[in-house]
Symmetry: C2
Subunit: 204 residues, 2 copies
DNA sequence: CTATATACGGAACGATGTTCCGTTTATCAA
DNA sequence: TTGATAAACGGAACATCGTTCCGTATATAG
């Protein structure tokens, strides 16, 4: 899998020829970042990543001018996989259950990447492309699930997918070990809220 | 109101006599911090607060060794007010509605303090006393509301107040201007989730 | 093999949190 | 009133971090 990452992940070849050392360093940075992110979260010091990759910080900034560029590059495959999971679940389960399951799938992903949630909502311009990519890949996936469940009459209508995506991402931002379970419970509650239809309906 | 803060807020007099300049600087720091927090959020630079108060950073650290000590001191009155609001709402509305309204009250509070939400969940040891004070004041308030609504059969049982408190705080962490509305919607959804009782109940 | 565009590395800068200690001063007792 | 002294003050100093910049090294084309 690391093999594939080295050869295919970074720019299949965009017009100009890429210098071999540049490609090598790029791959090394991705690999190092993946490892560092896994143990220290996405807020890990830049120098740590650069040194683990055996390059200077200048090289890191050359390839990833924005911190979020590195994050997106590292997690792109997983984000895409999460988006793709929506279709699979929709094919296998009734609409509302597919929705509920995908939500948990999303929780699993975000919970596993410490600091990703805060980064997503920090508002820091350095992280701008990050929400953008989430919106591009994940929002349509959720939108389809929502629409199907709405049309089946299993959940209320008028729910904004972006709203939900942000909410779940926020709930999944974790620190301690029990954070993931907490997030799962609260997201499940949110889904039940979508299903609720009472006289005193609070939201909608 | 600033008057009251100066005379009553900071340690009514604990055993030893407090030097007048110390008390004065303490009050000045609280006032400065309140203003700075309001415009720059709770992550504002320490130096900014110290200089606005006309003291050195050493003085700030002497009075508030942990950053969260300053935050708690500044917001203590508002936190207490939020906790007290629970009783008032419980007396005026049916259990579940009192619960829903208090949740929104809590959203208003957290949304107004930029960065407070992240600080609460950062896991940073420097912020440790902050969740502690929230737990001490707000959790019992919510616990009462939940219990009343449970006993009235208006919501499901078995919901952990701490879970909910954390969840709402997370949802209320905002950056942009529309953040508060988003939080209100999502929290309302969460409350509806508490009310939902279906065959496919997801959480509980 | 040489020229040159490209990439590299890390020193340097500015911002920040935190500590430390020489200096100042409020308080109290004589 | 006046000195002694414990307490508090202030800000320099240190460590860490993100980010920029530019002299140096080198991969590649011809």
């Amino acid at each position: 899998m690391a093999r594939e990452l080295e050869t295919k992940d970074a720019e299949p070849a965009a017009g100009k020829r890429v210098r071999a050392d540049a490609q090598r360093n790029m791959d090394g940075l991705l690999k190092a970042a993946m490892e560092v992110f896994a143990v220290s979260g996405v807020d890990a010091p830049v120098r740590e990543i650069a040194s683990k990759a055996g390059v200077g910080v200048g090289t890191l900034y050359r390839h990833f001018p924005q911190r979020s560029d590195l994050i997106v590059a590292v997690f792109r495959r997983e984000i895409d996989a999460c988006a793709d999971a929506a279709e699979a679940l929709a094919a296998e389960y009734p609409p509302a259950e597919a929705l509920a399951r995908w939500m948990q799938r999303f929780v699993d992903f975000i919970s596993a990447k410490r600091g990703l949630s805060s980064a997503l909502h920090s508002g820091d311009p350095a992280y701008e492309p990050l929400p953008a990519y989430f919106d591009q890949r994940l929002r349509p996936a959720l939108e389809n699930l929502l629409q199907a469940a709405e049309e089946a009459g299993e959940i209320r209508s008028g729910v904004d997918p972006t709203d939900l995506l942000h909410a779940v991402a926020r709930l999944s931002g974790t620190g301690d070990a029990t954070g993931k379970d907490h997030a799962r419970r609260m997201v499940a509650l949110l889904v039940d809220g979508l299903r609720y239809r009472g006289d005193n309906e609070t939201a909608g």
